[in-house]
Symmetry: D3
Subunit: 182 residues, 6 copies
């Protein structure tokens, strides 16, 4: 059980790691844990929209997809030009002695490989979480997200993902609660 | 799809809501989204430790268990002495027109009722997420979490939950990474 | 005197409670204590502009008008759709055993009833404090306050309140100090 | 009315000025507006405890006692060794063209002179606001406030002030709400 | 050596002092230490562009130019209308008993006098650090920096300083890394 | 000059990168720019204490020693177990087309090689900046820095460095200003 406690403290540090893309963007702020929550929530929604998908796999995959950032940090596009990350070794150290360690590593491996339906949807969920942030910042009046959005939109590959992305771009950040107050 | 986009913006606001217990405690800080991530991650771990559990239900339940806080705010023990929350109506408004709305509401209802194995584990995951924070603050040197911990420990009910709670109390916040640097 | 000390610690927690409307707005940040300061300062100014007003009552009323938020939290328009707050009981608990407890409760009751001149001005001071924030954010370049301002402006009811509101909208956030530096 | 609007924007900037003593202390954080709220709230309480006091004068005095910090900044004990502040000129600029300008300046002058009962209580309210913060930080487990407290305690001069100070030191930061949750 | 340690703790507090101009501007945030880093880095760049300059003097001058703010605080244009700072006495206290105290004071004196080539470049570095911040904020979409920039641009006096200022205004905040990601 | 402006925006982003060690430590907070300021200031002090040292080289070396973190991020001991950074390529991209690019790269190369007197002192300045932070946190009452300090102390290698480290450990964070207020 000690090994479990250490794993939980490790995942907990994701709350303290700010996503590094935002200072390159110039606005916005989000911890890796917050991003993981968003991505996993989107995966849950996708799993309800898609009939032929392993919902448990899709949701779990998103939940753990950034776990290695506890040891590696949050790398953005600029960082990745100069850094080589040994994510396999990071996850090996994270899961050593853990009964379900292989299952956890397999989820991340499948995500990184990106071949299965679940992995493709998970990658889209990851991008949709960013699109949601960028659209929110655009509605507030910031300039920089405008020049990022077209790039990020293109990274969304699945049909469901593309439909959700289009819907986000077509919805104001405050529409959900305006209904109840007016 | 517009309805989906509104749901995602609604869940996104959980990143902006600070958990209200921490200013009563005097230290610590966490958004509702970060707490949801922690709780869901703990549920994932529990689902690997428990053989007879519906993992998808348990994990999804934790993921959405605080969704109503987008409309209701984060209420702590003091608040609950004076406030009556109509969580049903909040979730009805959140899910109106959503194909999987009933499924989402049923997850929260089962969580609140607290009778099934998954609901009991989910409640423990919620408390374990707090125990993890309090133990972390104790290790740093803060006094107030010491007087909260015994109360919170008693709220953990399942066998697995109690074992994890004990392991957390027996583990230092930094043990997980000390292995690799020494 | 112990009862006094407890009251002061209770009022002190208003510094730690962020006003919940700002994350719905998307920009801005203010503690309940800061809002109470603003409202009370505006009340002081109003008391100097109005000849037939009980200045002590008006200023004290604004100073304590949000005291119950220490126990209830800061509820915005969305929250109020779903929450019922027993502010009377909160204030009863706050003032139990306090010599001037009835006087304090009476101030809040008169504020909430909104019938006296002082209560009407106090309500306007509360709205003017928000208008001041929104105008400030507009001057900085944010979009969302523009769509809130007309609603908030309409909530201002007294002649003096309306004149101040119009003056705020007609004044740039930095005019007060530009005089001395140029 | 334009002059009023400028005054309100000036008072509003007190929300953005952090009290400079806290980084010398090493812990804690408070805006000048938050400190003004605390001081004014304590003055309100004192005015209820004292029979022969001009409550309106006492409360208003505390409300505006740090207004000049909008133009001068928040100066702590170290700063005051090296800086000479022309607070009169600052207030003259703040109140120029304001119908009640002399009344406002007179309040601050009486506060600074410190001779009247109200001024003495107001000075004590200012120190009590700091004692409240320091006691709160001591309860959390911080060391530095311990070495400051005896100095600050000695600055409290009135009988009522000293009684409140003693009561604060004798009360835990969380006693006020423990009653209702246990 | 004790005297050295005290000097280092004194310089360290510059990390905790926010530059006071930003709340007057309405956006942005920077510690005095961060500003000192920027200014010194710009001085280093200038020293490489200028052939006839004492690079060590120029760089050291910028590094220590705001050291007195540890005791005096960060004064902006508004503050300076009302405050008289005895910077000489502050630096005398800082350097008392320090073997290289006179050398340090001489650097600041030469900076304040502003007559030598190095002092002129250092003053421009100080302004360029602000121009860099303002241009960054303009690119993000904020309004207030636009009305400040022409004033600040005029304070830049040297040929090299003016060329760098023009180049900053002609460069987007994110151009430096767009090269590597596209 | 455009290339210069891009370099300045690149160095500016160091203000937005939090040093990643602090969330592993559990307390404290510092931007890379703030750390660079501290390190450079310590180097300036060392250059005054050491007779046979190239002061310009030592100070400049510390000023630029973390410049590559703009592209690579701030890597702590845990990160370095899993990441391989191509700092040479990062600096090549940073300095491409810059007249003094080779000079800048040579400074960083010499620092990383760690063989010259200046490089050894610069490495010690880097560690002393951390010791200063840790001692400050110890004085405030935090536990975790105590277990880090002995490791960090051992990394200091030069005689001057060791003397300063000992003096820091022997000095309270607030001694420098207690002199003037008592």
């Amino acid at each position: 059980m000690k090994k479990i406690a250490k794993l939980l403290f490790e995942a907990k540090i994701l709350k303290d790691i700010p996503r590094s893309g935002y200072h390159f963007l110039g606005v916005g702020k989000e911890s890796v844990a917050e991003h993981s929550f968003s991505t996993t929530f989107i995966a849950y929604v996708m799993s309800e929209l898609e009939s032929d998908v392993d919902a448990l796999k899709l949701i779990s995959m998103c939940l753990v997809h950034d776990l290695a950032e506890a040891r590696i940090g949050d790398l953005n596009t600029v960082h990745k030009q100069y850094l080589t990350a040994d994510e396999d070794r990071a996850l090996a150290d994270t899961t050593r002695g853990l009964a379900f360690g292989n299952s956890l590593k397999e989820l991340v491996r499948e995500y990184n490989e990106g071949l299965t339906t679940e992995a493709k949807l998970a990658h889209d969920a990851d991008q949709l979480a960013l699109i949601l942030e960028l659209k929110d910042l655009v509605d507030i009046g910031y300039q920089p997200p405008n020049s990022w959005l077209s790039n990020v939109m293109e990274r969304v590959k699945t049909k469901t993902g593309r439909e959700i992305a289009a819907a986000i771009m077509d919805t104001r950040r405050d529409e959900w609660w305006l209904d109840v107050t007016t």
